[in-house]
Structure formats: C-alpha cells, structure tokens
C-alpha cells in the first residue's frame, strides 16, 4: 500500500496532540499546562519531522523548506489560540495563524488569495473581533489585574473534546496519506494559467501592442468560438491584418515575455465566467448580514410616556412648519 507516512506514526502524533491539548486547555490552578504545551509542541514537531521524512521518500532530501516554518507557525499559533485563557491573545494568535496560512497560499501559487486573506481576515474581521472583545469584557481593574473570567479560565470537558477531535484527525489523515500523488510541476501550473489567454483575445492584443509586435491594423486571429488563435504549448501566435486580409504566425522565439496570464487573470475569469450566480448570492448574504447585524446590535430605548408625547409634539410641529412652508 502506497502510504507516504506510517499510520502508526500518525496515530502517535494524534495521541500526543490530544494529550497535549487536553493538558494545555485552561483550568483553575493548572499545573499541567506547561507540560501540555511541551507535549503539544513535541507533537507538532514530530508531525513536521515526519512530513519532512515523508517528503524525503519521494527522492529529494528536505525539499522546499518554506513549507515547514509556515506549518509549524500555523499549527503552533492555532494551538496557542485555543488554549490561551485571554480572548484578546486568542485573537492575536489567530492573526498569526492566518499569516502562516497566507505563506502556504503563496507556496500554492495563490498569491491573490494570500493577500486578500491578510487584508480581509487579519485586517477587517479580526479587528472587528478585537473591538467586540473590548466591548463585551469588563476592563480588569488594577487590583485584580491577573483576574481571568470564569468563562475563559476553565475549559469545558477538555478530554472528551480532544478525544473526539483527534479521532477525527486520525481518520482524516489515514485517508489522505493513502496513495496521494505529488503536486504538479510549476511549469504545468504556468501553462495552465496561460491557457486563460485563449479566452481573452483583447488582452492578448493589448499585450502584443505594448510589446510593439502589432502594427496599426493587426490583431490576433479569433477562432470561430471567439477564442484567440494561440497555441499555448507550442508558443505560436496567429495574427491577421484586417486591412490587407493577410495572416502571419509568430513562432516561440517571438513570444513576448509579458504575454502570460497571472493568478489574478485566472481567478477573475473563473469568478466571473463560471460563478456569476454565486457572486450574486454572496452579495445578498453580505447585505443581509449587514442589515441583520444592524438590527441585532441596535439598542432598544424605552422612552417614558411623557417623553414619547414630547417627541410626537416635536414631530407634529416640524410637520406643521414644513406644511406652512410648502403653502407659503
């Protein structure tokens, strides 16, 4: 059976992780929290080590080191996030997790999503969280600076939750390490990305024009289905002269360096071309969330009866005035 990592090692990691988390979760007078943290750290370290060794099996020693610090950072920060008794620290650790994930997004050639994540998650959502945490938590007085709210200080059934969580993890990892291939080469990724150019003939025209390849009346030939007449693999471009009705073919040597599609082109095209309805739905969801949040968080003010009457009088007067103004 083609397993990259021995299941026994994986289960060991899962058990260590579970024990570590269970020990490290906040409790009153938790003596085991340091030890739990250590166990957890060792579990993460072991996991990363074994992942590296698993990668070694494929032939290349210790490849792509950037993955490992990001993985350690992400897992460590998320572990700390769920074990830290203070909500503010949890939120900060979550930001760290997000930044580590962004690193991995970059490794996975998802540059746009990486930066979008930083901007939206770390920049917007988590800041909102921090605001709410500050709003909804009494500021600790100087006398009880070390005081931590009961809600935060004591975890609820940590053992049971850890067992359930890590059983799930074990099952998932068992499944995912069975016969999974390596990722495709970056060259293929670039070719795949460039294939979006077929669908964007105007963009091709513009790039070729900037590169000074096209004359005034020339443009890329459109196929019958509206795609540009490019051969991505062979790197040839077919160009027509609309005035003279002549056709010329550019070879790979004439392929300009600037004529390639980026992650953004691809993502944008995919988003707009394949999922327009989903965008609409997402828009509606966001609008509803905005309205809902406004309605929910609104403060209900109970006016006294005389205040209400005063308010009504004021409204009536203003209406009278406006009517008078209208009549005048």
């Amino acid at each position: 059976m083609d397993t990259i990592i021995s299941p026994i090692a994986l289960y060991l990691i899962c058990v260590l992780g579970a024990v570590g988390i269970a020990a490290a979760l906040p409790r009153r007078n938790n003596a085991a929290s340091i030890a739990g943290g250590l166990v957890l750290a060792s579990a993460i370290g072991l996991a990363v080590l074994i992942l590296g060794l698993g990668a070694t099996k494929s032939g290349q020693p210790l490849p792509n080191y950037f993955f490992y610090p990001f993985a350690i950072l992400a897992l460590g920060a998320s572990a700390r996030m769920i074990t830290h008794p203070r909500p503010v620290y949890s939120a900060l650790y979550f930001i760290l997790t997000i930044i580590a994930s962004c690193g991995m997004y970059l490794l996975l050639s998802a540059e746009f999503m990486a930066f979008a994540l930083v901007i939206i998650y770390a920049g917007a959502i988590l800041i909102t969280y921090l605001f709410v945490i500050m709003l909804a938590t009494q500021a600790p007085s100087s006398a009880a600076e070390a005081f931590i709210d009961e809600t935060d200080a004591v975890a609820r059934e940590p053992v049971l939750a850890s067992i359930i969580g890590f059983v799930l993890l074990a099952i998932l990892t068992t499944a995912m390490f069975r016969g999974v291939s390596t990722l495709p080469a970056p060259t293929n990724q670039e070719l795949a990305q460039d294939s979006v150019l077929l669908n964007l003939p105007t963009k091709v025209d513009r790039i070729l024009d900037r590169a000074g390849i096209l004359t005034e009346s020339e443009r890329v030939v459109r196929n019958a289905d509206g795609t540009a007449a490019l051969d991505i693999a062979a790197r040839t471009i077919t160009i027509e002269n609309t005035d003279l009705n002549t056709i010329r073919v550019l070879g790979p040597d004439q392929w300009p360096d600037t004529l390639n599609a980026g992650n953004l082109d691809r993502l944008g095209y995919n988003l707009m071309h394949d999922h327009p309805m989903t965008i609409e739905i997402a828009g509606i969801i966001l609008l509803m969330a905005m309205l809902g949040a406004t309605v929910l968080a609104r403060k209900h003010i109970e006016l006294e009866d005389d205040l209400k009457a005063a308010q009504a009088r004021k409204l009536g007067e203003s209406m009278d005035q406006s009517m008078e103004a209208g009549n005048a």
């Binding site: 909102t128 909804a136 993890l169 995912m176």
Partner: protein
C-alpha cells in the same frame, strides 16, 4: 515585476524541490487546523472564542481548497475560498452582533448562560 513573478520568487532558491511537497502535506496541516478549531469550539466557554474557533475551521477548509485547486491546476479552489471568505465575513458580522446583544442581556459571554433556550 508582474504578478506571476511572485511564484518564482518563492521557489527561486529551490526550483527542483517543489514537487517533493505533496498535496498530503497541506491537507495534513489543514486537517490539524480544523481539528484544533473543533476542539477549541467544544471546550471554550467564551462565545467570542467559540466564533474564533469556527473561523479557524474555515481557515483549515480554505487551505485544503487552495491545495486541491493547485493539485488540479484549476482556479475553482481559489474562487471557493473567496466565497468562504464572504460567508465568514457575514457570519462574523451576525455573530458579533448577536454576542453584543446577548452580552447586554446577561452581562456574561458564557454560552452556558443561555441554557434556558433548550426548548
């Protein structure tokens, strides 16, 4: 430098090493993040932290989506992450509004304070 160069930047030093990182590596990290989010959701009593943990689970799912997108050389994975982001933002807005509302009522963030909603 155009956008595609960032990929080259990340992999410049180790051009041949990239294939060695398998899909499973990323999936393991994403599964571990999801699990920790789950454990946190189950154990922590503070509603804000519980919502943070759901965000962590979103994050695990997003990483898996991106990895699979890379595996299939498609853009759908990233598109889905955009939608996950949308839902996460909407959920955060609603959830935080709710938290504020609930906190106003009971002066506590504990989820157990709302036990009487058991129906």
């Amino acid at each position: 430098m155009d956008t595609t160069s960032s990929l080259h930047l990340a992999q410049m030093a180790f051009p041949d090493a990239v294939p060695a990182i398998t899909l499973a590596h990323y999936l393991f990290v994403s599964a571990a993040m999801f699990t920790m989010g789950l454990v946190g959701f189950l154990t922590r009593r503070n509603m804000i932290i519980m919502f943070l943990c759901t965000e962590l689970m979103f994050q695990g799912a997003g990483l898996a989506l991106i990895a699979f997108g890379r595996h299939h050389l498609g853009a759908d994975g990233q598109t889905f992450v955009i939608f996950v982001l949308c839902v996460a933002a909407a959920e955060a807005a609603m959830a935080l509004a709710l938290v504020v509302l609930l906190f106003r009522h009971k002066e506590t963030l504990s989820a157990q304070a709302w036990k009487e909603l058991n129906g």
